[in-house]
Amino acid sequence: MSASAIAPPLFSSSALQDFFNTEDSSSPQRALITIGTLSSLVHKCQSLFQMRWEDTFDFGKMGDAMSDLAGYFFLADVVDGSYKTYLATKEVIAHFNRTMVKEEARARVSFLAALTRAGKTFSDAVTFLKTIAKTSALTGLNMRPWKLAGNCSCAIYLMHSLYKGEESTPCATDERTPLDGATVIYLFQKDQKTHLDNLDKMLALSIVCISIFGSVCAFSGVSIPTSIAVCSRNVSFALSVGSAVCSVGSYFYGKQIENFEDQKSPNVSISGG
């Protein structure tokens, strides 16, 4: 293996700097959620091991505040998602006007894409509203049905994107041109990123399902035993920690992939991704 085949460190200084970048609209959201989740985890550990640090640093308060405030950045996702939904709808109409069978199939695919994108946008909008309502800036709105609708549309989006999937082994190589070490590392990183993205989606889907279960029980007036409620809260928290870890891993692998693509274009044709 050549010197270029040595994989660069995952948590490089430049990648970490980008992680804490507050000027980009999507980056602070990830950083806030990650630090918030880790703070809540430290708080849980404190409670578990009977440590009293609240007199100096209240990790629980900080974790809750950071996780809640991250919802504000969903506003950017709503704007971006609305524009993408509009583009997808335009494409559906363009295909729908044509009468050929092949075009109809394409219209169906575009329609499904537009529908799931709209679902995700709606779910983001509900999350943003939830954040505003939590800060008591918005009052008088019954959030329960909105939460349920938002969670359902988010579940549909996640299921669709998991079903559609991404190819985990993105190699379509020519045997006559052997891969160099750097390209092998690049493909490995791409593979890892895809795995982490899928795992993140699965964990998010599980959290959403638990939330839907809670909402349905509340609507139908079924009283859940306290032990089950506490257990589902703990499971949901554990899943959110896992989701944050996957999201961070995926972000840093993504940074390495970006760096590699900036440096040189790989001599393999990459499908998917």
Binding site: F20, P28, D55, G140
Partner: protein, 236 residues
């Protein structure tokens, strides 16, 4: 996003000019004007939006936590900016390194102040010293930024009329940056630092909401104008 049309005119999109932080500042200023107009509650479809709560419970904490994140970023780039890329023969490079150090200290002390104020960290006896550190280092940071802009303008002046369209926007960018820093220094000294040293004449508590909202609006207009000039200097 910017859009280029066939007649070689490039238009700037809203997203190119207003970043996440500036948007928060704009909404916060709008909330301040709502307070001035004594209309902090807006009712629509049975819901009520309270702008005072929006500003105090969402935007201000968000600014505090973003300041902490920004400080982490500055600490991570500290070695690169303040050591590796310093050209000891160039004064502007040295100024930039010192300015980065001040900005890092200011960001961290600001973040710590916010955590103390929101009762996440219980270090109230140190609040005053941290607050002073924040304001003094922030003022020093702004002064050094003005020095950097002046040095860049001198370099532009020496370059002459090469690529004059781009240079014009760069001049504009530096002038607006100096205006913004000056405004920031004035508001820090008279509104935030003066009460700390007992000069109650300009204390924030004595300034009317109208004056505070007007200062905030001027700051935001300056920032938007600078962002436009900065983008145009890169595009021209």
């Amino acid at each position: 996003m910017s859009t280029t049309v066939n007649n070689n005119v490039t238009y700037l999109g809203l997203g190119d000019v207003i970043d996440g932080r500036l948007f928060i500042d704009l909404v916060d200023t709008a909330c301040k004007w709502a307070t001035v107009a004594k209309k902090t509650h807006f009712t629509f479809y049975g819901c009520t939006l309270d702008t005072a709560a929006l500003s105090n419970n969402l935007l201000k904490p968000l600014k505090g936590y973003l300041s902490i994140l920004r400080s982490f970023q500055r600490v991570l780039s500290f070695k690169e900016v303040c050591w590796n890329s310093v050209d000891k023969a160039k004064l502007s490079s040295l100024i930039k390194a010192v300015q980065h150090s001040f900005a890092t200290v200011s960001g961290f002390s600001g973040g710590a102040c916010y955590l103390i104020a929101s009762k996440v960290v219980h270090l109230s006896p140190h609040f005053r010293i941290l607050n002073l550190t924040k304001h003094i280092t922030s003022t020093a940071n702004n002064v050094l930024k003005i020095a950097l802009d002046a040095s860049n303008m001198w370099e532009l002046y020496q370059q002459g009329s090469e690529n004059s369209q781009s240079n014009k926007w760069r001049w504009c960018d530096h002038i607006l940056s100096i205006w913004n820093q000056t405004l920031s220094i004035v508001s820090t000294i008279f509104i935030r630092l003066a009460p700390e040293f007992g000069f109650a004449l300009f204390a924030a508590t004595q300034l009317s909401p109208f004056t505070l909202a007007a200062i905030s609006t001027c700051e935001n207009i300056g920032k938007i104008a600078q962002a436009v000039a900065c983008k145009w200097s890169g595009l021209a």
